[in-house]
């Protein structure tokens, strides 16, 4: 398969790959929501755990970035 069909496949694949970012958004919201609910119950202990929250956000978001990378690669490098 050459030419237009490959292009079409690349574009459709890029659009499908973007659904992975929805999972990342849910994951990050989950982490921050749990942190917020814990912090509002125990505000004095919240400051020490902001670092852990950021690490959790980084891990959850990284996979969304991977799916965005796949979409970008399919759009512009195939």
């Amino acid at each position: 398969m050459t030419g237009d069909i490959v292009q079409m496949g690349a574009y459709i694949g890029a659009g499908l790959a973007c659904t992975g970012m929805g999972g990342a958004a849910v994951g990050v919201g989950h982490v921050v929501g749990n942190f917020l609910s814990g912090a509002l119950r125990n505000p004095s202990a919240a400051g020490g755990q902001t670092a852990t929250m950021f690490i959790g956000i980084a891990f959850a978001e990284a996979l969304g970035i991977f799916s965005f990378l796949v979409a970008l690669l399919l759009m512009f490098a195939v």
Partner: protein, 260 residues
């Protein structure tokens, strides 16, 4: 679709969003070799200069009541010092200069890339992969030097049921080797994604010059969107540098104290 520079007369995007990531030689050479002075060289040099101006010249006065640059330098120093001490413990403070270098380079490179017409050096996998590989090799070698073969205890989760431990060990080994991959792609992907999105909105901004009817609606909205995404990118620039540094500290802590 090759990512060469695109001409102006296209029906699609006027600014191709991936053009800003091209590495071009500064002084006219056609082919980029390993010794060519490129825009990456220029912006990395500017990053180092900015850090030197902030930390060395800014804090040179050592006044008791700090000047503005000294205050910013002290804030950055104290922030990273506290983070390294909290995460890696007292015996990890030896590695504070390395973590500080990583953090300052990444945060200043990210911020400099936000200037208009600038080039973001940390958006290239080549740059971030080298940093992540250096962290991975340093942590692994340090782990074996400090703990001998006891370093392999980092894969043996003693807080899990005995039956699960071999399977968990296999999963831990795989995730240990995926660490440099995720470490580098997280930073490069975030930077590239942010700047590509800004460029995509920027491609819509001059629409009022092409077709005034719909342009009067689209142009203000796209300028608003560019501003909003730009603000998000300022936040992301700082957070990604912080996340890179704090994950390096977490890996260092695993190397220094491998027993769970």
């Amino acid at each position: 679709m090759a990512t060469e520079t695109h001409g102006e007369a296209e029906v699609g995007l006027v600014f191709h969003p991936m053009d800003q990531f091209q590495v071009t030689s500064l002084f006219g050479a056609d082919k980029v070799e390993w010794f060519t002075i490129t825009n990456v060289t220029l912006w990395m040099g500017l990053t180092v200069l900015a850090i030197v101006f902030l930390m060395v010249f800014g804090a040179r006065g050592r006044a008791l009541i700090p000047t503005r640059s000294q205050s910013i330098a002290e804030l950055a120093y104290g922030f990273i010092y506290k983070m390294v001490e909290d995460v890696t413990g007292k015996d990890g403070i030896v590695f504070f200069p390395y973590i500080m270098t990583l953090f300052m380079f990444i945060v200043v490179a990210n911020f400099l890339g936000l200037l208009p017409m600038a080039f973001t050096t940390t958006s290239h996998i080549a740059v971030t992969a080298v940093m992540a590989m250096a962290v991975f090799l340093a942590v692994t070698i340090l782990g074996f030097v400090k703990n001998g073969f006891g370093f392999l205890g980092v894969f043996w989760i003693s807080s899990a049921p005995l039956i699960l431990r071999p399977i968990l060990a296999l999963i831990e080994v795989i995730s240990y080797f995926v660490r440099p991959v995720s470490h580098s792609i997280r930073l490069a992907g975030n930077m590239m994604a942010g700047h590509a999105v800004i460029k995509v909105f920027a491609a819509f901004a001059p629409l009022v010059l092409i077709s005034t009817g719909i342009g009067l609606v689209v142009t203000p909205l796209s300028i608003l969107a560019i501003t909003a995404i730009y603000a998000l990118e300022v936040l992301v620039a700082f957070i990604q540098a912080y996340v890179f540094a704090i994950l390096t500290c977490v890996y260092l802590r695993d190397a220094l104290h491998p027993h769970h």
